[in-house]
């Protein structure tokens, strides 16, 4: 497994774990009624800010882990060890990711139009981005596994 392949697998795991944590947190808040009413958006905003912070931190930790594992296996952990196959895999996965994020955005707008609350519209937009993040990493992993 190359540095980028290993990093992709770890980032896919990171995406799934962080969003499972976020979704379980938001669901608990929704069940308790904390997201209802005029204060609901403020609470959701704080949750999303936490999500961004945790995502960035987890991303850094995962990269460090990838370096440690790569170095431990006797390979060179060089971030710029990227070639045309890596770029092609990245481009194809990102294409799908953009489509999914766009779908989430449109879903959020449709939800607003249908009279859903802003909290759920925001969550639909976020769900699209979450799905895109997970899908990009999974697609990259599948393509690396298949060879290209």
């Amino acid at each position: 497994m190359s540095w980028l392949e290993r990093s992709t697998v770890l980032q896919a795991l990171r995406a799934v774990l962080v969003y499972v944590w976020y979704l379980s947190d938001v669901r608990a808040l929704a069940d308790s009624g904390a997201l209802a009413g005029p204060d609901g958006l403020e609470r959701l905003g704080w949750q999303m800010l936490q999500l961004i912070g945790v995502t960035v931190l987890a991303g850094i930790v995962v990269q460090i882990l990838a370096v440690i594992v790569t170095t431990a296996t006797g390979q060179e952990a060089i971030a710029d060890m990227e070639d045309e196959r890596d770029r092609q895999i990245e481009a194809r996965a990102t294409e799908t990711g953009f489509a999914m994020a766009g779908f989430g955005f449109v879903s959020g707008i449709l939800a607003l139009w249908q009279g859903w609350g802003a909290v759920w519209a925001f969550n639909l937009v976020l769900a699209g981005m979450v799905a895109a993040d997970v899908a990009v990493n999974l697609l990259k992993f599948i393509r690396y596994w298949r060879g290209g």
């Binding site: 070639d83 045309e84 060879g147």
Partner: protein
């Protein structure tokens, strides 16, 4: 566009070139070893530039290294 498969003789050429390793070839053409593995297994079709570089390493014309077979 007509469908086909890009095969190659890289494994054989490496063997003939003093059993050159995949890592050595990868370093000579500036890609990862995994990319050479994928090309040899016909799972990844290299760009024209990389294909020429690989052929150049073995001192062969492109059409002696890569073959396109219609399906």
């Amino acid at each position: 566009m007509a469908k086909g498969q890009l095969t190659n003789t890289i494994r054989r050429l490496r063997f003939d070139a003093d059993e050159m390793t995949q890592k050595d070839l990868a370093e000579k053409v500036g890609v990862t070893r995994q990319t050479i593995v994928a090309i040899e297994a016909a799972k990844y079709s290299p760009t024209l530039e990389l294909a020429f570089q690989i052929a150049h390493v073995f001192g062969r014309p492109l059409d002696e290294v890569f073959f396109w077979t219609p399906r």
